[in-house]
Each structure stands twice: as structure tokens, then as C-alpha cells.
């Protein structure tokens, strides 16, 4: 017995269990949740890579995943082991070398939606699947510990978002809103996979909010939960952005505000009860999901310290809310081309411009359906006080038609949109003042017309992001000046992370078909 103990009292033991404490206060060398920490600031405390030496940054390793050409996974790192995913697949990699430790493949998996990452807790790795299961894998072997069905596969649901672990519960959601499938959020016991609570995004008859749907339209109202969320442990509230109403483009059959689509909701983690909600686009007809990750900050607002939430919406507005109450504090556009609203009321409701709704022959709207931003995560640097995001300028033409709902996961958009070809579509990284939303700088991603990477911020004052050209770049967090770049030459659609092994800082991102990790050379 003594021999065995001595044998394993060594420094190479990777993967101690991830505890609640770790999730509440993530050690800087580990990236344990989709947003890096419960406040989703995506701000690493690691500072080995600086504005001064970033020019020396180089690729340390590449790990290809060829089953998809557009990886959206956000890697997690636990004590030197990296976990990455693609639809129906999870890999454990040696985070220093990218060498594979194990892989999990879901046999005969369906091909529905992307996969945006995993969650970790204890000795388990959690992943949602295209056939709407939540699967828990042993972190050391990739063996299935349990799996539980989130939704009936034949109903057409899938689970593309990264699950979210807090206080022993795994929160998981569903995609399918564009097919008229109503969404929900589930909390499962992290150890056993047993359902603890379910909260429906579309209120049923008798529940408050159901009156915001004309007739029976709530039955096929959408409201997907396809990304991830944030959590305030002091308030015991989780925050989740919800998807669009269905049918996406035909609002005539669903008159009303269509709660809780395109809202952010605050749910009691223990019970799943709704504490408050804030709807960004009431009765939307442009498919402007509000799933964009909410960032939580404790900040001075109008002279007093407040618990705020910052959210840049696909509809083009940047919002600051009080996250205890849901009170609207401030809102302003973060794009220049916005024609559907003239501003926001004191309560934060958009002041609509009539005549930009989709029509049979098409109508011009800015931003277009692809939106002013989307699933690529924003970041916040507490030192600069700036909120950083990927923003898209450009307009589109939206059409509507009549469509019958078909159960089983079929398109229920009631037609769609085109991005007018003559428009100069343009992607930017923008830095906004947290409380005013005022633009402090912008970095134009030349020739990038469509969505690229999300962002991270570093304690040393860098912002990392990428674009649809495949350029992965480091910007000065104070000025936006580009300080380093690397050509992956394959569209980047995921958000980067940072971690450290043996005291060396790495930055990693899923770029097209590759996971790529960067670090400074040893001689640096």
C-alpha cells in the first residue's frame, strides 16, 4: 500500500477532479467553462504573452478533426488535458502537444447542427448530441458514464450548445426553433443524469406570457436554447439568451410580443423558476436570436456599484441591464447601418420604424437576418473597462410566405433573406465602453464579409480573434492595433481560449477543421 502511494505522489498526474470551487474560481491555467468563468468575461489572468512579445508567438501544434469543415467547439482545459468536440465526437488531447489520449464517437449519429463544446465537472465530460442526448464521459477514458435523452430524437430536436455546470447541475438546452420546435432549459444531476427541473421558453396556457401569442401560435413558437449561459453564484441565478420565434419571417400568424423568444432570462439555479426576463426584440420577424452570451460585470453605473449584465444583440443594439432585477439601464446601437428602429424607449423597448418587415417581394433591412453579431463570444477586460465584440455591418432583403408546420424537425421559417450583393459587407472587432456603449476603437477585418471567431482578452492587454479569411490575430486591447497574426487559411467560426501547462501560456482556437494551439518559443 505504501509503495503504491509513493508510486503516484508525482507531479505528472494530469486531471485532478474539477470541483465546485474550481468552477467558482477557475485557476488561470485551466479553461473550465465555455465562457472561461461564470461571468463569461473570457478574460484570462495569464500574462506571459504580452503586447511586447506577442510578435514571437508561434503554432505549437495542430489537431485536425475532419468530420466537419466548420468547427465551433470552444476547447476546455483541465490540468494539461484539452477536451474538444464536433457533432457526435469528443476528443481528449495532451494540451502541450495535441497528441490524442482518447476519442468518443457516437455510433450512427444524426447530422443535425454544429457542436459548440463540452462541460467538465468531477471526473466527467458532458456533451450534447445531434440526436438530443446529454452524454457524460469519463474524463480519463472517454467511456460513457451515463446518457440521458433531452428530447425525443424523432421530434427533430438537437443539442448543439455547450452544456453548463453549476452547483452539481448540468444545464442543457435544445436547438430546433427554426423548425417551430419550442425550446426549454433542463437541469440534470451531474452525477446521475437525472432530470432536476425543466423550464419552457414558451409559456403554456395558464402561465404568464402565454397571452403574448395569438391563438395557438405558442405551440410552434420556437425559442431555442442553442448556446450557453452565465451564472451569478451570489444571486443563485443563471442567465440564458433565447432564440427566435417561429415561423421566423411570418409574424402575422403569431401576433403579440411572443415571450420569451429573443429575451435573456434569469432562472433560479435551484428550482428553474423564472426570476426576471428582458426581451430585446419583441415580436421579431428577422430571425434575430438573442442567444449571444451575456457578460456579467460588477461596475460603477451612474455613481453607484451595480451588478450589471452587458449583452450585444443580433438586432444591432448593445444593452446594459441590472442583473439582479432585469432593469434596463442603457442601450445604444453598436453598428452604423441600422434601419429597423430609431432607438430604445426608457424601458429598453425598440422604437420600430414601420415598413421594414419581410414582404412577399422582399424588404430592405439593416442589419440583415445574419445579424449584427451572433454566437461568437464577446469579451470584457476589467482593466480597460471595455467590452469587445465581433460586429457585422451590412443589410439584407427579407421575404415572407405562408408555411404549414410539420412535426419532426422540418423547416418552419416561412421563407428567408438574401444579403444584397451590392452591399459592402464588412466584419469588425469593436471595443465599447462598458457602461455607455461608446465605440472606443475598431479593427476592420479586411475582406471579411461574414462571421469569424469570438474573442478573448488577456491580463497583459491583448485581444485575440479571427475572421472568415482564416486570419487569427492579436490586437492591442487599448487601441485595436494588430500586433501579431497567423494565417490558418480556413474560415474560423469558434471562440479562442487561453491556458497554461508547466507555467507556459498557450492560446488555442478551433479554425475550420483544425484545433491550433500557440505559444511563445522556449528561448523567449
Amino acid at each position: 500500500m505504501l509503495r503504491i502511494t509513493l508510486l503516484f505522489l508525482v507531479a505528472h498526474v494530469a486531471l485532478a477532479q474539477v470541483s465546485n470551487q474550481d468552477l467558482l474560481n477557475p485557476p488561470p491555467e485551466n479553461w473550465l467553462t465555455y465562457g472561461g468563468s461564470y461571468d463569461s468575461q473570457r478574460h484570462t489572468k495569464l500574462d506571459e504573452i504580452t503586447p511586447g512579445n506577442v510578435k514571437n508567438l508561434q503554432a505549437a501544434w495542430i489537431f485536425p478533426i475532419t468530420s466537419t469543415n466548420r468547427l465551433q467547439t470552444v476547447p476546455l482545459v483541465v490540468d494539461g488535458v484539452m477536451y474538444v468536440s464536433a457533432p457526435n465526437e469528443v476528443y481528449a488531447l495532451d494540451a502541450r502537444s495535441g497528441r490524442e489520449i482518447w476519442q468518443y464517437r457516437r455510433a450512427n449519429g444524426l447530422n443535425r447542427g454544429p457542436n459548440r463544446g463540452v462541460a467538465v465537472f468531477g471526473n466527467l465530460v458532458y456533451v450534447g448530441t445531434p440526436d438530443a442526448y446529454l452524454v457524460a464521459l469519463d474524463a480519463r477514458t472517454g467511456t460513457v458514464a451515463w446518457e440521458t435523452q433531452i428530447a425525443k430524437t424523432s421530434d427533430g430536436y438537437f443539442s448543439p450548445g455547450a452544456p453548463f455546470v453549476a452547483d452539481g447541475k448540468v444545464i442543457a438546452g435544445v436547438g430546433g426553433g427554426d423548425n417551430g420546435l419550442n425550446g426549454w432549459l433542463d437541469a440534470y444531476d451531474a452525477e446521475t443524469g437525472k432530470l432536476i427541473w425543466r423550464w419552457y421558453t414558451i409559456p403554456r396556457p395558464g402561465e404568464p406570457g402565454n397571452e403574448t401569442w395569438a391563438g395557438d401560435s405558442w405551440k410552434t413558437g420556437g425559442g431555442g436554447t442553442w448556446l450557453s449561459g452565465s451564472y451569478d453564484p451570489e444571486l443563485g441565478l443563471i442567465y440564458w439568451g433565447l432564440g427566435n420565434p417561429a415561423p421566423d419571417f411570418d409574424g402575422d400568424i403569431r401576433k403579440g410580443d411572443n415571450l420569451y423568444t429573443e429575451s435573456v432570462v434569469a432562472l433560479d439555479l435551484k428550482t428553474g423558476k423564472l426570476k426576471w426576463h428582458f426581451q430585446f426584440t419583441p415580436h421579431d420577424v428577422h430571425d434575430w436570436d438573442s442567444v449571444e452570451i451575456p457578460i456579467l460585470v460588477d461596475a460603477q453605473f451612474n455613481g453607484r456599484m451595480r451588478k450589471v449584465m452587458a449583452h450585444a444583440d443580433r438586432n444591432g443594439f448593445y444593452y446594459v441591464l441590472d442583473r439582479e432585477t432585469g432593469e434596463f439601464l442603457h442601450g445604444t446601437p453598436f453598428i452604423d447601418q441600422l434601419n429597423w428602429a430609431t432607438g430604445l424607449t426608457p424601458e429598453g423597448r425598440p422604437i420600430r420604424v414601420p415598413g421594414v418587415e419581410p414582404t412577399l417581394t422582399g424588404n430592405f433591412v439593416c442589419p440583415s437576418t445574419s445579424g449584427a453579431t451572433n454566437w461568437m463570444s464577446p469579451a470584457y477586460n476589467p482593466v480597460t473597462g471595455l467590452f469587445y465584440l465581433a460586429a457585422k455591418e451590412g443589410c439584407g432583403v427579407s421575404f415572407k410566405g405562408r408555411q404549414e408546420f410539420r412535426p419532426g424537425g422540418f423547416d418552419f421559417k416561412a421563407t428567408g433573406y438574401i444579403e444584397s450583393p451590392e452591399e459592402p459587407w464588412q466584419m469588425y472587432v469593436r471595443a465599447l465602453d462598458l457602461t455607455t456603449g461608446e465605440r472606443k476603437w475598431e479593427y476592420m477585418q479586411v475582406n471579411a464579409k461574414s462571421y469569424g471567431a469570438g474573442l478573448i482578452s488577456t491580463a497583459s492587454g491583448l485581444i485575440f480573434g479571427g475572421d472568415d479569411q482564416g486570419t487569427f490575430a492579436a490586437l492591442d486591447a487599448r487601441t485595436g492595433a494588430p500586433l501579431w497574426h497567423f494565417e490558418t487559411n480556413y474560415r474560423i467560426s469558434a471562440s479562442p481560449i487561453s491556458y497554461a501547462v508547466n507555467g507556459h501560456q498557450y492560446v488555442a482556437v478551433a479554425a475550420g477543421v483544425n484545433i491550433i494551439a500557440f505559444r511563445l518559443p522556449d528561448t523567449n
Binding site: 488535458v81 497528441r99 455510433a107 450512427n108 469519463d138 477514458t141 467511456t143 460513457v144 458514464a145 430524437t153
Partner: protein, 258 residues
């Protein structure tokens, strides 16, 4: 207390047995004649998408290959080809009920896993040997429980054949399979790691230790490494166990399906 345990074991055994039975519900049976008729029907009706003789086709997966399947029971396969698989390119085929069952018999005959036609035996005693005398659970997991050094056996009955399982227990492999090579690594700092090699190249090693933890090593940290030629999987269960015990263990293992 003892009686309660016996009862639980009996109930569990009954549940397993029932699962085994439920997988085989083809009203036409599983004789070679039925399967041969099914093969002809398959090659006429399914090869627009799936491949000839149930291999992978241009538009649909192989129905028989060295892999595990979502649909392993007669009824699940029957439903797939009579109702289609919603949300995928697999349509309802509109064949007669009997022809559909013939094709099912054909697909099953190609796959014939241990769980399809599980051998007789005392399943409860087999399970007791698995957890006790055989010490299997110290190295293998079933349903998330057990040791990590050996492969997961949760779905063993569905993904292996009786013959292959028996061989695993009684015939030594010439080499440990990939991912299971036992190694002992002596490090420059004087410590030692023992486990199985998950991956290696000239520059790094990824080891799952006998302590059930991962050990990620750089080659330059290593003083000396000893590789074993024999797998950690014991291959002498035909002498370690009585013939009847081995039969019962096989009966239990063959019924392991997810």
C-alpha cells in the same frame, strides 16, 4: 438481508434475460433460408443508397460492419425500414411485412453479435463471478462503474461475438492491442509511473496509470521505459474458473447491451 440481495440479483438477471429475448422478435425466425431470401430483397431495394451486401453506399451507412449500431433489435430494424428514420435520408420503403422481416433476418445474420443469440447459463452467477472471483470489475467498467485500465464492457454483448469474448478470456494475444500496451516508466526525478500507453511518439507519452489517472509525459523527463509484451488482460480464465463458472460468465457477458 441476504435474501434481499438474492432477490435483487434474480430480478436483475430476469431483466437482462428479457432484454436478450426482446431483441429477437422476428416472426419468420432467423434460419439461413430466411436470411438468404432477405439478402436478395436487400440487394434489389436498398442499394440505391446503402452499398451492395450491406456495405456502405454513396448515400447511406453500412448496415453490417465492424462497428456498433443504434438499432440492434429485430423490431428497431423493422421500424427503420418500414417507417423510415425521420429527419434523415432514410425513407419508409413500403415493402410487404414478410419481405421486411426477411431483410431484418438478413441484416441480423450479418451482424450476429453475442447478444443476438446469447448462450444459456446462470446469468446471476456469471455476474457474481464478474464482480468477485474473476476480478473483472477492478479493470473494466459497466455503466460507468468499475476500473478504467481495460475497455468498457457496457455494450459488449452487442459489439462482440461469443467466440471473441471467450477468446479474450482464454487465449493470450501475441501483442497487447493499441491503447493497452502496459509500460513502466522511470522518470529522471526518481518517480515511477505504471499503466497502459494511450499514445506515444518520439517526444511525448500519454499514459493511463494503474491509479486510474492520466500521466502526460515529455520524452526528456524519462530516464527509462519498460514495455511489457503481455496484456494486462488475464487469459487463463479457463483454468482459473470451473467450466460451469466460465459458461455462466459468458452467459452474463453476452447479455451486456446498452
Amino acid at each position: 438481508m441476504f435474501r434481499a440481495i438474492v432477490l435483487i440479483i434474480l430480478l436483475a438477471a430476469a431483466a437482462w434475460a428479457q432484454r436478450g429475448v426482446q431483441r429477437n422478435t422476428n416472426p419468420l425466425g432467423s434460419s439461413p433460408e430466411v436470411a438468404t431470401a432477405g439478402r436478395a430483397l436487400y440487394n434489389q431495394n436498398c442499394t440505391n443508397c446503402h452499398g451492395l451486401d450491406a456495405t456502405a453506399g454513396d448515400r447511406a451507412p453500412a448496415l453490417a460492419a465492424q462497428r456498433s449500431y443504434n438499432r440492434t433489435s429485430d423490431q428497431d430494424l423493422f421500424d427503420a425500414l418500414t417507417k423510415g428514420i425521420p429527419g434523415t435520408g432514410m425513407p419508409a420503403l413500403g415493402l410487404s411485412t414478410d419481405d421486411s422481416w426477411r431483410i431484418v433476418a438478413y441484416i441480423r445474420s450479418l451482424r450476429a453479435s453475442a447478444a443476438d443469440f446469447p448462450p444459456k447459463g446462470d446469468v446471476a452467477q456469471g455476474e457474481a463471478i464478474y464482480n468477485g472471483k474473476g476480478e473483472c470489475s477492478t479493470c473494466h467498467t459497466i455503466g460507468g462503474r468499475g476500473g478504467l485500465i481495460g475497455p468498457d464492457l457496457t455494450n459488449l454483448g452487442a459489439r462482440s461475438s461469443v467466440r471473441r469474448i471467450r477468446e479474450a478470456l482464454t487465449v493470450a494475444k501475441p501483442h497487447p492491442p493499441a491503447g493497452y500496451r502496459p509500460v513502466t516508466v522511470h522518470l529522471k526525478d526518481g518517480s515511477m509511473v505504471r499503466g497502459v500507453l494511450k499514445n506515444e511518439n518520439n517526444f511525448s507519452l500519454q499514459i493511463l496509470g494503474t491509479d486510474d489517472q492520466l500521466h502526460l509525459l515529455s520524452s526528456n523527463e524519462i530516464e527509462r521505459m519498460v514495455r511489457d509484451d503481455a496484456s494486462l488482460m488475464p487469459s487463463d480464465y479457463d483454468t482459473r474458473l470451473a467450466a460451469e463458472e466460465l459458461t455462466n460468465l459468458l452467459a452474463y457477458l453476452s447479455r451486456l447491451v446498452r
